[in-house]
C-alpha cells in the first residue's frame, strides 16, 4: 500500500497560519514527521490558492522539497498552482503526482494536459460534468471515459491512479451505500482498466462521525479497501496504528475484519472490546448493519 500523508493541508489551522506567514518550520516539521513515520508521498493540499499563486506555491513546494526526499502529491483544483508545483518538482528531479484531474470539461482541458507536459503520474477521479456517480459500476463508466480521453492525450494507464471518491459513511441513507460502491469500484478496476492504480482520500469516510471514533472507521475501511486491491491511500501518516495496518503488522486485526467480511458469525464472548469494535465497524462499512453515531453501543 502506497501511503500519501495528508497532514499538510490548508484546512488545518497550523498549516494555514504557517502558509500565510511563510513560516517554514511548522510545515517542515509536518513533512519530516510524515517521512519518519514511513509515508511514501507527501500531499500538499494548498487549497485553490487564488491570491499570489506563483509566489506562495513556489514557497511551499520548495519548503518541503528542501527538507524531504519523498515525492510530492500536488493537491489543488487550480491549474496554475498545479503547473507551478509540477514544474518545480521536475526541475529538481523529484517525482510528482498530479492530484487531481476529473472528467469535468474544465479539468480535461486544463489539468490533464499538464500530466503529459510534465510526464508525471495523475489522479483521475470519477467526477464528471454530471456530478458524482453513486454506484460502483457507474463510477467505473465515468472514469473509463476520462481515462480514454487521457490515453488519447498520450498518458498511458501506468501513469494513472483512479479515485472513486470516498464520502462520509454517516450521510443519511446514502453514506453506507457509497462506502460499498467505492470498494466495489476498487475491486472491478484492474479488470476494466489494466495497469491503472486505485487511490482514495480515506479520512472522508469518517467525516461527520463523533471524533473519538473517526480513526477506528478510517482503519477498518482501509483494511477493507486493501483487501479489494487498493493501491494507494491519502490519510493521516502520523496514525501509528494505521501505519501498522498498511505495513501488514496487525495480522490479527486484519484477519478479524476479513472473517467479518466473509459473513462469519463471530462470538463476541471471546473478543476484547477493541476487537468487538472492529467487528461492529466492519459490519457498518460493508452495509450489513445500519450506521448510527452510536454504532459501537448496540
Amino acid at each position: 500500500m502506497i501511503v500519501i500523508g495528508e497532514n499538510i493541508h490548508v484546512i488545518a489551522k497550523v498549516v494555514n497560519d504557517a502558509f500565510k506567514a511563510k513560516d517554514a518550520k511548522p510545515i517542515q516539521d509536518l513533512a519530516k514527521a510524515q517521512a519518519e513515520a514511513g509515508a511514501d508521498y507527501i500531499d500538499l493540499n494548498v487549497g485553490f490558492l487564488r491570491k499570489d499563486t506563483e509566489e506562495r506555491m513556489t514557497w511551499i513546494v520548495n519548503t518541503v522539497l528542501d527538507l524531504v526526499d519523498l515525492p510530492l502529491s500536488i493537491d489543488t483544483m487550480n491549474p496554475v498552482a498545479m503547473e507551478i508545483g509540477l514544474r518545480l518538482c521536475k526541475e529538481r528531479g523529484r517525482k510528482a503526482l498530479l492530484n487531481s484531474a476529473s472528467g469535468k470539461t474544465d479539468s480535461k482541458n486544463e489539468m490533464l494536459p499538464l500530466a503529459k507536459k510534465y510526464d508525471c503520474d495523475v489522479v483521475i477521479s470519477c467526477i464528471n460534468d454530471k456530478g458524482m456517480p453513486a454506484e460502483g459500476d457507474s463510477k467505473l463508466d465515468s472514469v473509463m471515459d476520462t481515462v480514454a480521453y487521457a490515453n488519447d492525450l498520450g498518458i498511458p494507464n501506468e501513469r494513472i491512479w483512479c479515485d472513486p471518491i470516498v464520502l462520509p459513511a454517516s450521510t443519511a441513507g446514502e453514506g453506507q451505500k457509497n462506502a460499498v460502491a467505492t470498494y466495489e469500484f476498487v475491486e472491478m478496476l484492474p479488470e476494466a482498466l489494466p495497469g491503472i492504480q486505485s487511490l482514495v482520500g480515506l479520512s472522508n469516510v469518517s467525516s461527520g462521525t463523533p471524533i473519538e471514533n473517526r480513526e477506528l472507521l478510517n482503519r477498518v475501511y482501509l483494511v477493507i479497501l486493501a483487501r479489494k486491491g487498493l493501491s494507494a491511500s491519502i490519510h493521516d501518516a502520523l496514525d501509528e496504528d494505521m501505519m501498522k495496518l498498511c505495513r501488514g503488522k496487525s495480522q490479527n486485526t486484519v484477519d478479524l475484519i476479513y472473517r467479518t467480511m466473509d459473513g462469519e458469525d463471530i462470538d463476541f464472548s471471546s473478543l476484547s472490546q477493541e476487537e468487538i469494535n472492529y467487528v461492529k465497524t466492519t459490519k457498518v462499512l460493508t452495509g450489513e448493519t445500519l450506521y448510527s453515531d452510536a454504532w459501537l453501543e448496540s
Binding site: 454517516s170 443519511a172 441513507g173 453514506g175 450489513e288 448493519t289 445500519l290 450506521y291 448510527s292 453515531d293 452510536a294 453501543e297 448496540s298
Partner: protein, 305 residues
C-alpha cells in the same frame, strides 16, 4: 410453463407492544411481513390503529370545519377526549401545547393532573405528547409519568436532547416511550440505541416524523419503508419497533386543509392512507370524518393476517 409467484419468508419480527390497560389496551406491531405483503409467508396480527388528537387548551387557528365536531367540548379536554372515544377511535392523543414556553408556559403539575383526568375519563389508551420543546418536556413529561404511575401511557416525544431523563421516568412509572427523530434513519437508530441504555426495546415506539402530503410526505414514506425493511428483512433490532405517524397536526396546517372541509378531509385521509401503506402501525389524526373515510377505504379486517 406454469408461473409460480415467488413467496418470501422473513425472519425479522416487529415487536408487539401494548399501550394502555384493561380490556381496551391496544397491541401495536407484531408483523413479520412487509406492509400489505400478505402473499408472503408470515403474519400481521394487529391491524392499523387510529388515534384522534386533542389539545390541553382551546385550539387557536383551527378552521371552523375542524372545530365543528367538537365545538361544544373543545374548551374541556376531558369532555373532548370522551367525544373522541364516542367516535369509535382506538386511542386518544393528548398534546400538551399549553406547556410550551412560547404558549402559556403552563406548569408541569397542571399538565400532569390534567393528563391523569383525561386518562381516567376514557376506557381506551392515552398517548400523551409534550409541546415538543425539549427542555420544558424534560420537566413536564416526567411529572406526567409520575402522576399517571402504572397507566401504561405512550409518552413522547422522547428526543435526543432529553431521552435520558424521559426514559428513566417512563421506566420507573410503567409507561411506553415514543422516540422522535427528525426524518433521518441514522439518527432514528441512534436515538433507539441510546434510549435502550435505560429502556428495553419493547418499550419504544418509533416516531420518524410525519410530513403532510405535498409538504414532504414522501420523505416520511420512504423512511418508514426503510425502517420496516431493516426490521423485517435485515433484522436490525434497533428498528424493530412499531411506528406512530403523528400526521394530523401537519395536515391541518396546510393551506389546502384550512381552505375547505372536503379538501381538509382528503388531505388528512390521503396522508394517513399513504403512511399506512408505508408501514405505520398507528395513525394520529384530528378529524373524526377522516377516521371514517380512512377506515372505509381500507376496509375492516383486510389489513390483518
Amino acid at each position: 410453463m406454469e408461473y409460480k409467484a415467488p413467496v418470501e419468508a422473513y425472519t425479522g419480527v416487529v415487536r408487539e407492544e401494548t399501550i394502555g390497560k384493561g380490556e381496551k389496551a391496544l397491541k401495536l406491531g407484531g408483523e413479520n411481513i412487509l406492509p400489505l405483503h400478505f402473499f408472503d409467508e408470515g403474519s400481521n396480527p394487529n391491524p392499523p390503529r387510529f388515534a384522534l388528537e386533542i389539545l390541553d387548551m382551546k385550539p387557536e387557528g383551527w378552521p371552523e370545519h375542524l372545530v365543528e365536531p367538537f365545538k361544544d367540548v373543545i374548551s374541556d379536554p376531558v369532555k373532548w377526549a370522551k367525544r373522541c372515544e364516542d367516535f369509535g377511535v382506538d386511542a386518544v392523543f393528548l398534546r400538551l401545547v399549553s406547556t410550551d414556553p412560547a404558549e402559556k408556559d403552563s406548569p408541569a403539575d397542571e399538565a400532569a393532573s390534567l393528563t391523569k383526568k383525561v386518562a381516567e375519563a376514557i376506557s381506551i389508551p392515552l398517548i400523551v405528547y409534550g409541546s415538543g420543546d425539549d427542555k420544558k418536556d424534560a420537566e413536564v413529561l416526567p411529572k406526567v409519568a409520575e402522576v399517571c404511575d402504572g397507566m401504561n401511557l405512550l409518552i413522547g416525544p422522547v428526543q435526543k436532547e432529553n431521552y435520558e431523563v424521559l426514559s428513566k421516568a417512563i421506566l420507573d412509572h410503567g409507561h411506553k416511550a415514543s422516540a422522535l427523530s427528525p426524518l433521518d434513519i441514522n439518527l432514528l437508530k441512534e436515538l433507539n440505541v441510546k434510549s435502550c441504555h435505560t429502556l428495553s426495546p419493547d418499550m419504544i415506539v418509533i416516531d420518524p416524523e410525519s410530513a403532510a402530503l405535498g409538504y414532504g410526505m414522501e420523505y416520511s414514506f420512504s423512511l418508514m419503508e426503510r425502517v420496516k425493511q431493516l426490521g423485517v428483512i435485515v433484522k436490525d433490532s434497533m428498528t424493530q419497533m412499531p411506528i406512530i405517524a403523528d400526521l394530523g397536526g401537519e395536515c391541518w396546517k396546510t393551506k389546502q386543509a384550512i381552505e375547505n372541509k372536503e379538501q381538509g378531509l382528503l388531505w388528512e385521509g390521503m396522508t394517513a392512507l399513504s403512511l399506512l401503506l408505508a408501514g405505520a402501525n398507528i395513525i394520529v389524526i384530528r378529524h373524526p370524518e377522516t377516521l371514517k373515510l380512512v377506515k372505509e377505504t381500507i376496509g375492516g379486517e383486510i389489513w390483518q393476517k
